[in-house]
Symmetry: C2
Subunit: 142 residues, 2 copies
DNA sequence: GCTAAATGTAACTATTATAATTACATTAAA
DNA sequence: TTTAATGTAATTATAATAGTTACATTTAGC
């Protein structure tokens, strides 16, 4: 899982919290990164329909009406990521040895199972529930 | 999760499969990496008591008697790794804004939950079960 | 219409993380 | 005593990731 995931969640929660049009500049400031990176990630969320993006002067990003119900699984999918990702593969598929030739596929299957477990969990966590965790027992303040 | 994990699993399965003392050179050849890296990882497994390591001429690594029962969770712990690891943190703990200051901790909590889910799954997978997957329906061959 | 201020996106650079390599002290069999 | 192995650290090379720059596109406001 890339840092784009926490960045996206942070942005969605901040947008929900503020409830108005926010520029990539302001989001970047709050998230502590740069505006171009914010736009790159938020652009993906927009393509997936998870956020509204306006254009032109005075524009920016805005939550959709049911933003609180967006699951983190949906965010992950919008970014086309997986929680567990190991790029390196052991062995060599062309070897006669079944351990060497088969291990990479078996491990990939395992990563798939782990990702399914994670996605099941992420399905139960929403942008709204993250917001609640941040403001639990406290009134909403800027 | 680092590539050390699949490397370690591969090595353990190969050792179980062969059932004799194997050098880091031979393991590296089967895994498709270099001997020093194998030794670095297997050394950790040895410290955790998951594999026997001999010293001196003609030495190498050997499975312990119950190697098939070693869980992948135990392997992961021996390597001191977590399935989900996102190093980048959004926001700034010193900000007045609770979203900016609190998001990193909330996300860390989430990663912890995901890792727990994954470890529960890894507890059910053993070196022996991986070996079975590789040789399912086939007799054990070199 | 013109200007200003915003997003979308691509190309590039810098930084960090990871894997590979090299080297050598230590160990124990022959 | 020699040889062949592991243990481990230091270094280098490569790959992945984050940051930066640039500019075309869009639209509000004058």
């Amino acid at each position: 899982m890339t840092a784009e995931f926490p960045l996206a969640v942070h942005a969605l929660v901040y947008l929900l919290h503020r409830g108005q049009v926010i520029s990539s500049q302001e989001l970047a400031d709050n998230i502590c990164t740069n505006p171009a990176r914010v736009r790159k990630v938020l652009s993906k969320l927009h393509h997936a329909g998870l956020v509204e993006a306006e254009r032109g002067q005075g524009s920016g990003y805005l939550t959709r009406p049911d933003a609180g119900a967006i699951t983190l699984r949906a965010v992950l999918r919008a970014l086309d990521e997986t929680p567990v990702a190991v790029s390196w593969r052991s062995g060599d598929v062309d070897r006669a040895c079944q351990v060497s030739s088969g291990m990479a596929a078996v491990m990939d299957g395992l990563y798939g199972q782990l990702n399914e477990q994670c996605e099941k969990k992420l399905e139960t966590v929403t942008v709204g529930s993250i917001n609640d965790q941040l403001f639990r027992g406290k009134e909403k303040e800027k």
